[in-house]
């Protein structure tokens, strides 16, 4: 249609690669009876009391814009939540911003703090949108390899080795999607030292904070002297099974929140009102639902990890999120070959690890937020597949 127009899409957009698993969508869509471990969301529906609160608000007519920063009551509840959970004090009026999922918060954070050419250091593998967000904001993503041998934790020295005069921020996301890794407090402290030494911002995506198993999540902003230089990103999607509501938040210094709010008010205006009402209910009385879901995920996690190891796909023990990240190197295939063949031959969908960065090559991401019966059936099929491949 626009063949005459040159450069239809901007250079900036051309710089970013399309999502690595596009062809999977098409292949998958044409197949029946697939068990998908490729999802990235809970299989629970949002707890009824949360849905009910939103329905009730619609009945009452809460259908208009809210304040740009989000409903005051939601910011107050969020402030209380962060205080109770982490003993962090954020002023609900100036240091919190309600966003359309963490995705928006991440986009705002990168755009608000980066100048063209600024470098952002992040782990490899990591969530697929980190690097594109930085690029779209004019920044340059600098990847730091992480490895299974080190539980996919970031090593502070590896970060420091990549710091230049252009480095502006470190972007981390733990518990990690795709690896399920959780950073220990000790390791995070080392990282904080590096950030402090070089006066770097830390953008910490903690969307999976509530989904940890047998370990404690350390919020980066709680580390000594770190609150002012941390942009804490969180949300409701994973802990409260609210992915479709698109509701998240950012907590940071007054200056950064003001800068993020500036972009937010021109591009988004405000997060959906009904989702904000639902989020208030989640914060007020969602705790027992969270705990129940975490207990359930933990059981599935143990079944998934043991199952993968038993069938010869070595799997490091993920301590958070709802992903297992087994190595498929023993099969001699690349991640993409493995995922594609597994889908075609046994109708199990997993995500090739290289979609999350070069260091993800040789691994696949298996989401265990699906019923135990499906996990067991998937393991059975994968077992059959691996056996066939080894012959």
């Amino acid at each position: 249609m626009s063949t005459k127009m040159r450069n239809t899409s901007s250079q900036r957009v051309n710089q970013i690669a399309p999502s690595g698993i596009r062809k999977f969508f098409d292949l998958l869509a044409s197949m029946e009876g697939v068990i998908s471990l490729g999802v990235g969301e809970p299989d629970f529906t949002t707890p009824w009391h949360i849905r009910e609160a939103a329905i009730y608000s619609l009945e009452k007519g809460y259908t208009m814009y809210t304040s740009n920063s989000g409903m005051p009551e939601l910011r107050r509840e969020l402030s209380r939540y962060l205080k109770e959970r982490y003993n962090l004090s954020y002023d609900p009026d100036t240091e919190l911003l309600i966003t359309v999922g963490v995705s928006e918060a991440l986009d705002l954070a990168t755009r608000a703090v980066l100048d063209p050419g600024d470098e952002v250091i992040m782990p490899d593998p990591c969530y697929v949108s980190y690097s594109p967000c930085v690029t779209l904001a004019g920044g340059i993503p600098i990847m730091v390899p992480t490895h299974e041998e080190n539980n996919f934790e970031l090593n502070a020295a590896d970060i420091e080795a990549r710091v230049t005069s252009k480095t502006k921020a470190i972007l981390i996301g733990y518990p990690s999607n795709p690896t399920g890794a959780v950073m220990s407090k000790e390791k995070l402290l080392r990282l904080a030292e590096v950030a402090q030494r070089h006066q770097l911002l830390v953008i910490s995506d903690e969307i999976y904070a509530r989904l940890v198993y047998g370990v404690k999540h350390t919020c980066f902003a709680t580390l000594p002297e770190m609150k002012e230089s941390t942009v804490l990103l969180g949300g409701f999607s994973k802990a409260y099974a609210m992915t479709g509501w698109r509701i998240g938040y950012a907590a940071a210094s007054k200056e950064i929140i003001a800068a993020m709010t500036k972009i937010h008010q021109y591009t988004i205006m405000c997060a959906p009102t009904m989702a904000q009402v639902a989020a208030i209910e989640a914060l007020k009385s969602g705790e027992s639902s969270v705990l129940e879901m975490v207990e359930d995920y933990n059981r599935r996690r143990l079944v998934m990890v043991k199952g993968l190891n038993d069938l010869g796909l070595r799997c490091f023990e993920p301590k958070g999120a709802f992903y297992a990240f087994p190595s498929i190197k023993a099969t001699g295939m690349t991640s993409e070959e493995f995922a594609e063949k597994l889908l075609v031959e046994e109708k199990v969908a997993v995500v090739p690890g290289n979609a999350f960065g070069q260091c993800g090559e040789g691994y696949v991401r298996c989401c265990y937020a699906t019923s135990l019966a499906e996990i067991e059936e998937a393991l059975l099929r994968m077992g059959r597949f691996v056996k066939k491949c080894k012959k």
Partner: protein, 160 residues
């Protein structure tokens, strides 16, 4: 430890000790031992299913019966409750606070059968001062399970 095992079994009685062992990281022989013990001391009373009998067209009539009882010296309500719960027709028997004393859940093949039980077995008991029978017209939810039209929303198979 046993509580966790019981929670899993309460949700799905078919979960095998091996599965439970994996799900809880409790060694298999320990799981088996704890379950045996729970069965023996009647912590686990029975393994059962929830069935929607309407699906196979089997008629079944249930009623909730409020029973007003004159308590007896020394034994209170227990002796009367026992006289009632010994009848197999009484599926559940509870002592309640409020306007009446015992709640009896009765199941039978026909309304007649249930009515007969009330008029011939329950009401004539000496300490029973009165009964009110509520026949169940429709079951919407049973033990946490919604019987009809349970929501099944499809997720996107792959999302990054």
């Amino acid at each position: 430890m046993i509580n966790e095992i019981l929670r899993i079994l309460e949700n799905d009685a078919r979960t095998t000790p091996k599965q439970i062992s994996t799900m809880t990281s409790i060694p298999l022989n320990e799981v088996a031992k704890l379950i045996k013990q729970a069965e023996k001391d009647r912590t686990i009373l029975k393994y059962k299913t929830i069935i929607n009998w309407d699906k196979v067209g089997e008629e079944q009539v249930s009623a909730l019966i409020e029973v007003k009882v004159a308590p007896q010296r020394d034994v209170g309500f227990d002796a009367v409750a026992e006289r009632i719960y010994r009848f197999p027709q009484a599926r559940s028997v509870y002592l309640l606070s409020g306007a009446y004393d015992l709640l009896v859940v009765v199941t039978g093949k026909t309304m007649h059968e249930v009515a007969d039980f009330v008029s011939q077995k329950l009401a004539p008991i000496e300490e029973v001062q009165g009964t009110v029978t509520h026949f169940m017209l429709k079951r919407y939810k049973e033990d946490g399970e919604i019987l009809e039209g349970k929501e099944k929303v499809k997720r996107q198979p792959v999302i990054l």
